[in-house]
Structure formats: C-alpha cells, structure tokens
Amino acid sequence: MDLAVQRVLRPGSFEEAVRVMAEHPHALPIAGGTDLVVQLRDGRRAADVLVDLSGAGLAFITARNGVVEIGGATTMDAIANSREIRDACPALAAASRLVGAWPIQCRATLGGNLANASPAADTAPPLLVAEASVHLVSADGDRRIQLSELFSGPGETCLRPGELIRSIMIPTQHLQRTVREGFAKVGPRWEQIISVASLAHRFELDADGSIREARVAVGSVAPTPVRARAAEQFLAGKPPTAAVRREAARHLQDDISPIDDVRAPAWYRRVAVSVLLDRALTEAADG
C-alpha cells in the first residue's frame, strides 16, 4: 500500500536538506523510516512532503579531539560495528544491537531513534549516561544542546520546525580509573521487541571496588528516557554490596514514573528496572 504523501524531496547534501526543510515547513524528514513509515501507514502521523535524508551525507562516525561524533543518519548496525563507539560508549554499541533485529538495525538511524522520542528509545539511556550532546541545524542557524534537553514528552522533542539533527557528540572517556558500563533491556524476548524497561549504567570504581561516580539512565519508565539522579547520588562513594544494591533500587523508584500500557503494567516496570540495576551493580562488584 502506498503511503499518502504527495512528494518526496531528495536533497543531495546537508546544506540543501536544511534549505529544503526551510522551504517546506510542514515537511517531515525521513532517514531509515523504520518508525516513520509505520506511523504514516497507520495514520498516526501525516505529511504531504517527505524530505529523504539518504543523500544528505549524515551517515558518518568520526573520533577527534576527545569527541566521537555520529551523523544523524548513521545506522544502528554501523554503530554496533564501530570500534570508536565500542571504546567511547560500549553501552551504546550494545543497545544498537538490541534495537529491533538485524534488518531493522541495518536501516534504523540514531537521529531517527532520538527524534522519534519514544520513552522506550534504546539508544537514549546509553547516550544520557555518556552525557552526549546533539548538534541541531536549521536555516536560522545551529545550536548544540544536551541530549537530556531534546526530549520534552512521549513522542515530543524541542526540535523547531525545519530543524534537523546533524550529529550526536559523545565525550570520550578518560580511562585512568576502572569503568564498568553496559546496557540491558527487558521485554518478552531479546530481539525485535520494544523495551518494557531498559537501563544503561556507567560506574567509575575506586581501587577498593567502591563506586566513585555512578551514572544511571532508564527507558520506558517515565515520559522520556531519564537519568536516575536519586539512585546515582545514593550510590556515590558506596561499595556495591547486597544491602547497597537493595537500597539503590528503592532510591531508583523516586526517579521513575512508569505507566500501565499494552506492553506491561507500571508495577512490573518498577520491578524490572530494579532488577536491571541490581544486575549492573552485581556485575560491577564481580569485576
């Protein structure tokens, strides 16, 4: 079945894409289309004009000056395969291999996953933990925001009309200390599922095994993917013992506000995300 769109514009460069977006303020940009095509088909979104970003040169990964930069139209598969990303943000590489299954990963893009702004977006928790920033460009100029500022609600972002995600920037880690980082999600099966709960963590450990700094971000348990600040503050300076793990899970409850929906009831999400945190801390303790 054809999608109900009148025109597809295919800019051949990023500059042209920005210009085309300005000329068509109601156009929707499309990259991999793995979310958008389904939404257009089901009538959950509508657009007369699509701006196809395949030719806009947004599929790239570069590492320089302590920053790994990922172009907005870089696929999950390319991210999962990238040595630079596996070094700078292993949780993102892991999450990219758990978005849909392989054929989805070969098509879905990082910019699309973020712009779609699902509370369940699997790439968001790892990038929140990495304190990534986003480079946004429109005909009016460009700005760089923290990823946490991008999401304003379920399916909603602070993107202005005509504004495109050019790239996502991840500060590379200074690995003087021991860092434990990872991503895990819960759902009915491993692949091809939308997360019922997800969690990314980055624990910086002291020589005695206690947690010097904890960063935790969670998905599918709040209107947007969020950092778990209460759990993080509780964990700072503590060893990941069984008692600390239990107490951290209690603090985590203050960071989240899950809802009942078709995928799971809120109570289950609360339990599931606690288990994910417990596992991450247990692994950190085990080295």
């Binding site: 079945m1 054809d2 999608l3 109900a4 769109v5 009148q6 025109r7 597809v8 295919r10 499309i30 991999g32 289309g33 793995t34 095509v37 389904v38 257009l40 088909r41 699509l50 196809d52 395949s54 030719g55 598969d77 291999r97 849909g100 299954a101 392989w102 054929p103 989805i104 070969c106 098509r107 099966r189 491993w190 692949e191 091809q192």
Partner: protein, 157 residues
C-alpha cells in the same frame, strides 16, 4: 499523488521506475518489477518476510521508501543465485527441509545469505541476527542446519 523516478541496480540489472511518491520498496519490487518472491507479512517491520538486501545489508522492504533507493543496489531472493540456479543457502534449505509453508523463506534466505557474506557463522550469533525473521512452521532447527551446511560449503562462489 505525485510520482518519483527511481533508478537502481536490481538483481544486477540497471532499472528505472516511475512510481507514486509514497510507494514502498516492497511494492515496487512486487507490483512494478514483478518480483513476487519477496512477501508482505506484517507490513510493520516485525516479521522479516519482506527482507531484501539493500547495498549488501538485509532490510525490511516494507519500511523502505522506494524514493530513497535512488542509486542503490537491491538484491531480492530471485537474484541471490546469480548465474547459478540456487545460492548455496537456498540449496541447503531445500536439502535439509528448512522450507515448509515457504512464506518466511525468501526473508530467511536473504538475511541468511547476508550472514554468510559477512562471515557470521557462530550459531548463537546467527540465531540473534535471524531473530527478526519469524518462521511459524519449522521450529528453526532445519533453518540453522541449512545455515551451518551452507557455511561449510567449499568456496565455489
């Protein structure tokens, strides 16, 4: 609805199509190119029946806009064997009973061919990469046997 021109290499042949702007790659393949080997299952990227190779990687063609395939290289199940009648994985699927009703088979075979092409032969990893291709008949055992057999095949390709 406006139309759009798409030039692409389809199963090794340079082709140009004039299609409605909102046409999906799946419909271009089936309706415009007459390549009905590629199947539509869920139409939402969840079942894998419509998987084709786009620039050498498996993608769900129900989620790909035909317009975005300008200049692309697309291989469907019909193009997998090349000059020969069957790709080694196709032959192994037949010999080992990896095909029952056959509806998922074109998608399984295209994803599987990409696995072999990328040298992914470890069974657990093959299982993860094939998890997006749902089969309700075989229980997957015969499909994995076929993948392992095709991976062992001496390099005549």
């Amino acid at each position: 609805m406006g139309s759009v021109t798409v030039s692409l290499v389809l199963n090794g042949e340079q082709r140009t199509f004039e299609v409605p702007a909102g046409r999906r790659l799946l419909d271009l393949l089936r309706d415009d190119a007459g390549l009905t080997g590629t199947k539509e299952g869920c139409g939402a990227g969840e079942c894998g029946a419509c998987t084709v190779l786009l620039n050498g990687l498996p993608v769900p063609s129900c989620l790909v806009l035909a317009a975005s395939c300008e200049g692309a290289d697309v291989v469907t199940v019909e193009g997998l064997g090349g000059d020969r009648p069957l790709h080694p994985l196709q032959r192994a699927m037949v010999e080992r009973g990896g095909v029952q009703c056959g509806f998922c088979t074109p998608g399984v075979v295209t994803t599987g061919a990409a696995l072999l092409e990328h040298g992914i032969t470890e069974p657990l990893e093959q299982g993860r990469r094939l998890a997006g291709n749902l089969c309700r008949c075989t229980g997957y055992s015969k499909i994995f046997e076929a993948l392992q057999a095709a991976a062992r095949e001496p390099g005549d390709d």
